[in-house]
Every structure is written in C-alpha cells, then in structure tokens.
C-alpha cells in the first residue's frame, strides 16, 4: 500500500471517535428540541438519544474502562489515552444528559399538557380520584409481581440487574427507634412502564415506578418509609471485547483477564433530589465514583418515550406515515426475473418499497427453474418472510445456503432460533466465520434458463430486514450481470471456506481487498487533481473514523480534490481546516428515517465510478468484517445515485455542517429554497409511481384491454 504522509496523521488532525459520537447524539437531541417538528416526533428523537446513550455506555465506555483496568495507555488517533477519553466523555455526557432532561421537563412535558396529555411526574401530584384508581391498579396488577428486598446484617445487598429500573428506599421498623435499613424493589419489566389513568376526560399518564413508590408502604407493611427513589445502573457486562479495538489491545486484555472487573457498574442514574443516605449506600455497594453518577431531573430511562409515541389518538401530532412506493421497474405483469433481465434495478428504500427484495426470494423459492439460493443474513426481523421463503425453498429441493451472522450485537438469541429453524428445513447454515463478522448483504439466485445458467444477484447497503427497511434509508441493486453473478458465486464460495477466486470482476470485498481499493481510488483522484484533470469525491457513509482513509482524504484535499462527505454519525476527520482539509466539507443528516446507505462517487477524470456497499470507513469495516462494495455500472442508475447524493448535498432543513472547530451547525437557509432530502425523495417516489400508474389507466390510454380467458 502507498505510503501515508506523516504530516497528515498528526493527532491534532483527528477527532476522537467517542466525542464525535456524542456530537451525533447532540444532533439528534437538537431534533427533539426543534419546535417546528411535530410534538410526538420530538418524543421519539429524545427517546433515541437515550437508547443510543445506553448502547454507547454498554459498548464503548465499557470497553474504555477495560482498557484502563488493563493498564492500556496507547493513545487513539487523536492522541488521547483511554483515561483522558473517559474524562472527556464523562464531561460531555453530563452536559448531554442535562440537556436531555431540560428538553423533557421544560419543553416537552408542558407542550404535551397543552395538547391534552398530562404526565404525572410525581405521584404526589395525583388527584384523589386518580390516586384511588392507581392504587387499585397497583393492587390488581403490580403487587403480585413485586419482590421487595430488605438489606440488613443477615441479608446481603441484592444483585441489581444491568439496565433494570429499581426503587431504593430507607425503611425503619414502626415499633420504636430501630435502625434505618436499606430496602429495594425492582420495577417489573413485564408490565408496561406507562400507565394511562382513565378517570376523567383529560388524558393522563403516570409511570409505573411512581405507582410503586406511592404504594411502598404496602410492601413493607410494618415499616415507615423514610425516603424512596428510583435508580438504574449500567454494568460492564459485555462478555466480548468490542471488535473495534486494535488487535494488540485484545491480546493485552486477554493477558490481563484476571484484572478485568466483570460486571462492574459503570453508570448510575438517579433522581437529582435523592436522599444523601441512599446515594451514599449505593455508591458504596456499587463501588461507583461521582463522575459516573448521573443525577437527573425527571424520569429515568427516557426510552419509555418511544412507547409514549405509540399512544393512540395523537396522530395529528406525528408526521403522516409514509408508504413506500413501488419501483416503476416492477409495475407490470412480468415476473421479477424478467424485470431484472430488462436491466439493472436500483432500489432506494424506504422511499421505494422493500417488497421486491422479499418477492425476489419468495419467487425464487417457488420457481421450478431455480437451482440454488444463497444469502447472508444479519439482524433479520423476528418473523421474517425472507427466512420463511428460504425454508420453503429448501423444502422445494433447492440448494439453499445461508450465512447467519450470530455476532450481531444484542440479538444473538433471536438469531439462533431462526437459524436452527432453517437448518431443520434443510438449508445449509453457516454460523459466521471465525474472527470475522459477516456484514455484507448479498443474495444470489442461480436459475437454469433456456439459454443456460443465469445468476440473479441482490446487493444491498442494509440488512435483509423488512421492518427496518421502512425506517432506514438504504440502497439495493438487483442485477443479472454475468460478471457480478460470477463474483457473487465466488463470495459465497469464500464464505463456505474455499480459496479466494483467481480474480474479481467487479465486487470489492473486505477484509482483504476493500481498504486497498478505497485508498487507491482516493489516490487516483488526488493524482488527477494534481495533474489538472477533473477530480472529485462524494461519499456518504454512517461513520468515518479510519485513520488511513482520513489521511488520504487530507492528502487528496491538499492536491485540490473537492471532497464532499455526508457522514451521519462519527466523523474523525476535521473539515475545512486551512492547509489540511480546505476542500473537504462534511455534513450530517438527521431525519425521520435513519440515514444508512453508503454511496461513493469518484469523478476519475470524467469517467466517474459509483460504488455502494455495506462498509463504512471505519477500521472494523475495512479490517475485521466481510463487507462487499459494488459498482453501479448502468449509466441510468449512476444518474439515480448521483441524484441521491446531490439532493443530500442540497439539504438545508436537516443537514448539519461540520465546522473546523468540530461543532456542527445547521445550514444557513437565508435566500434559499428549503430542501429536505428525505421529503424530496418521498415526493419523487410517489410521483414516479403515479406516473406509471397513470400510464396504465385505461382512461388515459384510451385503449380498452379485453380480459381473455386465463387459458
């Protein structure tokens, strides 16, 4: 690989990835604070910031804690040692959490009240009638599932589950001067956290922990409750070390495994007016330090807001649901294979429906000419029609191979269940590869046709998950290009443990070839620019934190390549820094749909190349995963891809621009037409579908088509 100029890899040229990630959460929070957005959508955004933060702690902060315990002091690309990173993260997270809660209490709760939904924040605020209803609800539904636990000299401090919501209380025996004891009860996860109180015209909700707190005396009947507060902890309980870390770190940690503190508490969330004695006790028992304690002014664990979003009858406060439109290429009576044979088809989800992809596999499963179906699956929805179709295909005697990635975070169990199901149905199931995650999204259908074997391939930027396909923006290519078919076959052969193919036609596969290819593509643009030829890079990724790629982008920028990056989340690159990255702009789009597709454009001296794929510009994607990046070869589809990029670059409603100082600001819209990329795509998809629909309408065509007997 080509050398990297040392001047570009100075620590000051990079942003620490965790801090950049927190910036991303800030951007989502900004959406929650945006009064122009429908109220319930704002609830959703706030909920997302909270669940994001949870995952961030469980994975990233936990990992940094491990490093500190292991005595690992190697600085990251921005020159920060793990301990320094933790300190900065703590500081920034505290600010973020404060902003979350001020958004909730000062802005959202009053606004909800105005719109007819009262949230009872403290059970003390309940009216008498409401109180009575709540108490009855407690007796009937909650009491039977509670397990109160008191702590005294004979009973040890109970185990507190990771991420569980609990109420801590101080109690004293009613008869006399006895000692004050610590008691605890877990808020049951089996009951919904939001309880609606149907006693008046007004819509009123209260959180379950408040109901329990109000009824604590019923749990400790011979005691006085002196104080009671909900709290929540997060533990470093992840059994695996995050794959994103460098290999030398993994070795280091393995060596020092003994020193690793399993299950240590890494975050404590608790109300800000908590009784000092309770706090002190928790600190002692959980061995947690002040920087890791988050005292908040409002309900813990804001993810309940996602449930709140689902409350019935508030549709006028939500964005009108968008229905994915059919892609015009499929709006005819031909079967899916015939349509693909007419030419490559690029799907843009969720603007265009994911149905063709599901149908692709379903049709293949039934089609007598189909010999084999091969697919990689990663994070599939629970009762996926795709999984059902694969099982049916195996049943129909097709050769079905499925690579199931079990290492997808947080849903291992879910994965194993349906993988077993597939295996029973007769599919050949590969449970991932040793040491690598399979992140590529590819499906291959081999079909025996009149003129020989033909291969149909679907390549995507997003998972084969029909539910997330309605929320994530992704691209997918359906093609029967023979060379891509050959490559797809080779990919599956490699995934089955066979040697790499003698050569690749079009697909670029990580972890072996992808990094080199990207570096070469960037270098090529730099070369074009420095020789005065047209050069430009546009890349849309979710994260950009690979040191070498960033350094090469700096190099290209200095050579005069104009580089526009659309990076949703983490961005370790500094944009617009004189002498380093003047020619680079970075924007992040946070909208109703989660931006997820990866598109890469290289101008290449007027012979542009377009790529899409499953990989971000992160070390883990380039080095530790099986990823596929595929070119868009069809000129018409290249235009469609370019259009996607152009509209995103024009967005001035949801786009945040990265400043040289590392902050993000929204686009200055003065004097410009407002452009929202996601809205634009929605509108265009509806229009395109309607156009075809209209063409078929006999009223417009003025031709009557007689329906013949089906035989």
């Amino acid at each position: 690989m080509a050398e990297i100029d040392a001047r570009f890899v100075q620590p000051e040229n990079f942003v620490n990835r965790e801090l950049s990630w927190l910036e991303f959460d800030y951007r989502i929070l900004e959406e929650a604070r945006d009064k122009t957005i429908p109220l319930f959508e704002r609830l959703k955004f706030l909920s997302i910031t909270a669940s994001n933060l949870d995952e961030f702690f469980m994975v990233r902060v936990a990992s940094l804690k491990d490093m500190v315990h292991a005595g690992y002091t190697k600085p990251d690309m921005a020159g920060l040692k793990p301990e320094e990173q933790l300190a900065k993260i703590g500081e920034k997270t505290h600010d973020l959490v404060n902003l979350q809660y001020s958004t909730y209490t000062r802005s959202l709760v009053p606004a909800l009240k105005q719109n007819g939904l009262r949230i009872v924040g403290k059970h003390e605020d309940l009216t008498e009638a409401e109180g009575a209803w709540v108490d009855k609800f407690f007796q009937d539904n909650v009491y039977p599932v509670l397990t109160p636990m008191a702590v005294d000299s004979s009973r040890p401090f109970p185990l507190i589950y990771n991420k569980s919501l609990n109420i801590a209380a101080l109690i004293r025996k009613k008869d006399g001067e006895g000692e004050i004891d610590f008691a605890m009860v877990r808020v049951p996860a089996v009951l919904p956290r939001i309880v609606e109180i149907p006693v008046s015209e007004e819509r009123v909700v209260i959180l379950l922990e408040e109901i329990i707190e109000r009824n604590l005396p019923a749990l400790f009947s011979n005691c006085d409750i002196i104080a009671a507060h909900p709290f929540r902890i997060m533990r470093n309980a992840d059994l695996s070390i995050d794959e994103e870390e460098a290999e030398d770190l993994l070795k280091e940690i393995e060596k020092l495994l003994k020193r690793r503190q399993w299950g240590e508490a890494i975050r404590l969330e608790i109300e800000d007016n908590t009784d000092k004695r309770i706090l002190k006790r928790l600190k002692k028992e959980l061995k947690i330090q002040n920087p890791d304690i988050y005292q908040v002014n409002g309900p813990l664990d804001l993810t309940f807001l996602m449930k709140m979003y689902g409350l019935p009858d508030f549709d006028h406060l939500k964005v009108k649901p968008y229905h994915p439109q059919p892609n015009p290429a499929f709006m005819n009576d031909d079967d899916i294979f015939a349509n693909i044979r007419k030419g490559d088809i690029l799907l843009h989800h969720p603007y265009e429906s994911f149905d063709p992809v599901v149908k692709f596999i379903q049709t293949a499963a039934r089609d007598p000419e189909v010999l084999a179906i091969k697919q990689t699956l990663y994070r599939v929805s629970g009762n996926s029609p795709i999984v059902a179709a694969l099982a049916a295909a195996a049943d129909n005697g097709k050769q079905v191979s499925v690579l199931v990635e079990l290492k997808a975070r947080f849903d291992e169990e879910n994965n194993i269940n349906w993988a077993k199901m597939l295996e029973k149905a007769g599919c050949h199931v590969i449970y991932g590869l040793v040491g690598l995650k399979t992140h590529s999204k590819i499906t291959l259908v081999v079909r025996q046709e009149e003129d020989g074997i033909r291969r149909y391939v679907h390549l995507g930027t997003g998972n084969y998950n029909d539910s997330t396909a309605k929320l994530y923006t992704d691209c997918g290519l359906l093609t029967c290009h023979p060379q891509i078919g050959e490559d797809a076959t080779a990919v599956f052969n490699m995934l089955s443990g066979y040697s790499e193919p003698l050569h690749w036609n079009h697909l670029v596969v990580a972890p072996i070839w992808l990094r080199k290819r990207f570096i070469r593509l960037i270098e090529r643009e730099a070369h074009h620019a420095s020789t005065g030829r047209p050069a430009r890079i546009i890349a849309k990724v979710n994260s950009l934190c690979d040191r070498d790629i960033i350094a090469k982008l700096y190099e290209a920028s200095c050579a005069g390549v104009k580089i526009d990056l659309i990076v949703r989340g983490i961005c370790g690159l500094r944009a617009g820094v004189p002498g380093l990255s003047e020619n680079i702009t970075v924007r992040s789009i946070v909208g109703n749909f989660l931006e997820h597709c990866r598109i890469f454009y290289f101008e290449n001296n007027g012979m542009p190349e377009y790529y899409m794929g499953s990989a971000d510009w992160m070390p883990r994607n380039l080095d530790r995963r099986v990823e596929i990046v595929f070119p868009i070869l069809d000129v018409e589809l290249q235009q469609k891809a370019m259009h996607i990029l152009e509209v995103q670059l024009e967005d001035n409603l949801k786009a945040h621009i990265l400043q040289p100082d590392g902050s993000y600001v929204k686009v200055d819209r003065r004097g410009k037409m407002p452009v929202g990329a996601q809205d634009t795509f929605c509108g265009e998809a509806v229009l395109a579908a309607k156009k075809v629909e209209d063409l078929k309408d006999p009223v417009n065509t003025r031709v009557f088509v007689p329906v013949e007997s089906p035989n």
């Binding site: 690989m1 010999l371 020989g452 089955s496 066979y498 040697s499 070839w513």
Partner: protein
C-alpha cells in the same frame, strides 16, 4: 435441452478443485462455478511417499461437499482426476477406494502426459489466438507443483513434450532442508533447474527459434497480473517479466503477500516458480509470455465436450500426437518413407476392417503411433529390436496417451517381433499386433511398392489389390507368414492381389 452441465474435479498436489461448466454447442464452454480448497497432498507424498489418513479425511469432507454442489447444479456427468501427488502415493488405491465409499465420487488417476494434454487442449480451446501464436515458434511451460512440463511446437503442431523433475513444491522442500540466504537460495534453485534444462536445450532446442512462451499455472498468472497492472492481463513482454522478477526477488515473504496479493502458501512458491520461468525464458529466448489462465478442470471439460461431439476444434490434436510420435521416430533415425508407408497401410487396413475388428476410433491412432514407432529400437540394436522399441516407448512421453495406452502401444510393438503370448496380452493388443504385422509385411522391401494399393474385405478375405507392375514375391511371402495369426484373430484371411495392367 441444448445445454449440458458438467463437473470437473481435480485432486491436485496443492489443491482440490471443482469446476462446474455449462457446455452448449452454440456458445461453447462456460464456467459457472469454481471451488478451490488448499490441501497439501503433495507435501506428504513427496516427503513420505504416502498420504496420511488425516488428509484423506479432509479430502473426503471436501469432496462430499463438492458432490453436494454438483447435485445442486444438477450436473449430468462428472469426471474426477487425480494428478501427481496421488499418482505417486503408494497407498493411492486404498485412498481412491475410501473416497468412493465415503463420497460416491470415482476418482481416476491420470498420467502426466494425459494431464498435460488436457491442459493443452484447454489452451487451444481458450483462445482464437492460439493458432496464431503457435505459427511462430512456441513453447508451453507448465510449472506445476509436482513437476514442470516443457512442450514445443513446430509450425502448428506439437513436437515434443518433456517432464522435468522438480516442481515448485519439490524445490521449496529441497530449500527447506538446506540452510541458505536469499541470494544463495536463488542460485541453488537455478542450479537445480539448469541441471535439467541444459539437457533439454541440447536435445530439442538446437534448431528452433522460440518467440512465444505459453505459461500455465497459478504462479505465472500472478506474475503476469502484477506486471500488466490492469491492461491485457494475460500477457507480458520479456522486459515486464524481468521487472516483476527483480521486484519479487527483492521482497521478503510478507512483502510478497502484500505486493502480489497472495496468501502465505502462494508467497512461498512464487519465488521458486519465478526462477524456473526466468531460466526457461533465458534458455528459450522467448519474447512474450502468454497466460491463457487455464486449469486442469478446463482441460477435463474440453475433453469431455469433445468426446461427446458437442464442440469442434479447429486445431487437430490427433495430428499433435502423431507429430510427437514422428518426432520421436526421427530422433531414433526411423522417420523415413518406410515408416510413413507402414503407418498409412495400417490406417487404411484399420478402416477397411472396421466391421470386423470392432475396435474404437481411438485405437486407430494407437495403431498409427505403433506403426510409427515400431522400429525405433533398431537405433539401439538390430537384433531383437522390438524389445528395445518397447523400452523406448515405455520411457518416452507421448502427449495425449494415458499410461495404459502407452503400454498398449509398447506391447503391440513388442509383439510385432516376439512370439505372441496368449495368456499375457489382451485381445485388443492382439488385434492391433496382427494389423501392425501385416502392415509391415506389406512394405517389407522398404520400397513402398504397395503404396497405392487398395484394401477391402470380400467374403472371408482382406483383399489387398495393387497395380504395381514389378515383383511382389517377397511381399507375398511375408503376408503369408502373418496371415495365420491375422486369420486366427479376425477370422479373415489377408490376400495380396496383383492386378496386371492390360
């Protein structure tokens, strides 16, 4: 259906390979799928002479999987061949049996010359340029894992092919037993190779001008791809080769992996292989290297398609085999008009007797080769020359002949002179022997008197009629001598008939 699906399996010295092919008379052969699994059969055979059970087990697992893939594609037929590692393993019969019992796949061991001939057929199939390339002096170098094969073309047919002992795996193993530094390593390998090449050069390259080298095998492909960096990735000039060669020699093993994009296993054989090619290029003086990128599986499918008459070749492979045989005959000073005449007689006799001998078309070629080579032993001794001929044939590679076929040809030649041993040879040998004897008898005078004769079966007689005006009593006598045996075998009596011109 017009298309046929076929699977070719190569149980090689370094890899197990499965190729799935689609053959259609219209568009030729297309590879649909290609699986490779690296397995070090060669290393074990070359070291211990045997293949261990551990590898057999691994091999069976992979072949079982191959069999599933074949079923998945619903292939009509398959051929599985094993090459040098398996051929040389003393326990190969046990292993083949194991494989068949466990996987249902029948693996056939093929001889070196068959193997090379298959590759060579695939080369000829691959490119329209092939015919053009071989118009100029061309050599094919197939640097394999077990051995290296060098073949030469003259005009447009193949004239000789020689198997030169060390292949890259063997060289790598030799190197691992002696401790040398990098430059020494290079010269050691060069010496090993030169040891073989110098003889080859003396014998075969004296009056040939080699312009093109066709390179077969993975390693040369990697080198070519590196040299061409994108454009025309199937050929390179001598200068390009030199550049890549120098670069390769300056790199460490791990750098080779990075620079050439290969894994560790390949990196370790790239150097010996490049040295072999370098020496071959220097020796032949070829200016251009062409790598058609074919593999044994491609050859297998080509052969299969040809046998089924689904494909036609523009190149005449039979002519190659005959040319190689004639060239051998020439080397032993028996490539004269007599031999030509005998070959011709034999072929015509074969055709005339078609209904009565019941032999396959393939036997015709064997008979012609036997006719060409029957007298080569005379180079050694005039008495009992047939035994010498037998030995020469047995130790000469005739491209395209399997081990069995070579043995058959040798036996036919031996029995030409020796008394026929009834319990030793099979009926096929007997039939060919009878025809060869008669063919030689017809030109016993070495004067090609019967060159223009006609042959045909009438009743119980094979009538050989000629308008030759001169004396034929010697011929009549010799025909009479072989007639007994001929009749015994075919139930047909040869009869020489001299028509007088009126």
């Amino acid at each position: 259906m017009a298309n046929h699906l076929f699977a070719a399996i190569d149980v090689g010295s370094f890899e197990l390979e499965l190729g799935i092919y689609e053959i259609s008379p219209k568009s030729g052969i297309r590879q649909i799928d290609h699986l490779r699994h690296v397995i070090a059969l060669g290393r074990e055979t070359y070291h211990t002479g045997k293949i261990s059970y551990r590898l057999v087990d691994e091999m069976c697992r992979v072949l079982e999987d191959f069999s599933k893939v074949m079923k998945g594609y619903r292939v009509e037929d398959y051929w599985a061949c094993a090459t040098s590692a398996m051929r040389e393993a003393v326990n190969n019969q046990i292993i083949l049996d194991q494989i068949e019992v466990r996987t249902g796949i029948k693996v056939q061991i093929i001889s070196n010359s068959e193997q090379r001939f298959l590759s060579y057929k695939a080369i000829a199939m691959k490119a329209s340029e092939f015919e053009k390339i071989i118009q100029k002096g061309t050599a094919i170098a197939d640097v394999g894992f077990g051995s290296t094969q060098l073949s030469l073309f003259d005009k447009d047919s193949l004239v000789t092919t020689q198997n030169i002992v060390p292949g890259v795996l063997k060289i790598r193993d030799i190197l691992s037993t002696i401790q040398v530094n990098k430059t020494q390593e290079k010269s050691v390998v060069e010496e090993i190779i030169d040891h073989e090449l110098i003889k080859f050069k003396k014998l075969y390259l004296r009056d040939r001008d080699i312009k093109h080298l066709i390179g077969v095998g993975d390693t040369i492909m990697i080198l070519v791809r590196k040299a061409s960096e994108g454009d025309a990735p199937d050929r390179m000039t001598r200068e390009q080769f030199n550049q890549v060669y120098d670069q390769l020699m300056s790199l460490s093993a791990s750098q080779i992996e990075d620079t050439f994009g290969v894994n560790e296993g390949f990196a370790s054989i790239l150097i010996p292989s490049a040295i072999i090619y370098n020496r071959i290029l220097q020796m032949t003086g070829a200016e251009m290297v062409w790598t058609p990128g074919i593999r044994l599986c491609d050859g297998v499918v080509t052969e299969y398609a040809q046998q089924n008459r689904w494909l036609k070749f523009t190149h005449d492979f039979e002519e190659d085999m005959l040319a190689a045989a004639r060239n051998t005959a020439k080397r032993y000073r028996c490539g004269n008009a007599h031999v030509l005449c005998v070959e011709n007689m034999a072929a015509r006799m074969f055709d005339a007797m078609k209904k009565y001998h019941g032999l396959a078309q393939r036997d015709r070629i064997l008979l012609r080769i036997a006719a060409i080579l029957y007298g080569c032993g005379k180079y050694v001794t005039m008495r009992n020359f047939a035994d010498c001929s037998y030995n020469i044939i047995m130790s000469t590679e005739i491209i395209g002949l399997s081990q069995n076929e070579r043995e058959l040809v040798a036996n036919v030649v031996r029995h030409y002179q020796d008394e026929y041993e009834y319990d030793e040879a099979d009926i096929r040998t007997a039939k060919l022997t009878a025809m060869l004897r008669l063919a030689v008898a017809l030109d016993v005078s070495y004067k090609q008197k019967l060159a223009g004769c006609r042959m045909g079966v009438r009743g119980d007689n094979l009538v050989i009629s000629t308008e030759y005006p001169g004396d034929l009593s010697l011929e009549a006598m010799t025909v009479g001598v072989c007639a007994g045996f001929f009749e015994e075998i075919f139930g047909i009596q040869p009869m020489l008939k001299q028509k007088r011109r009126v």
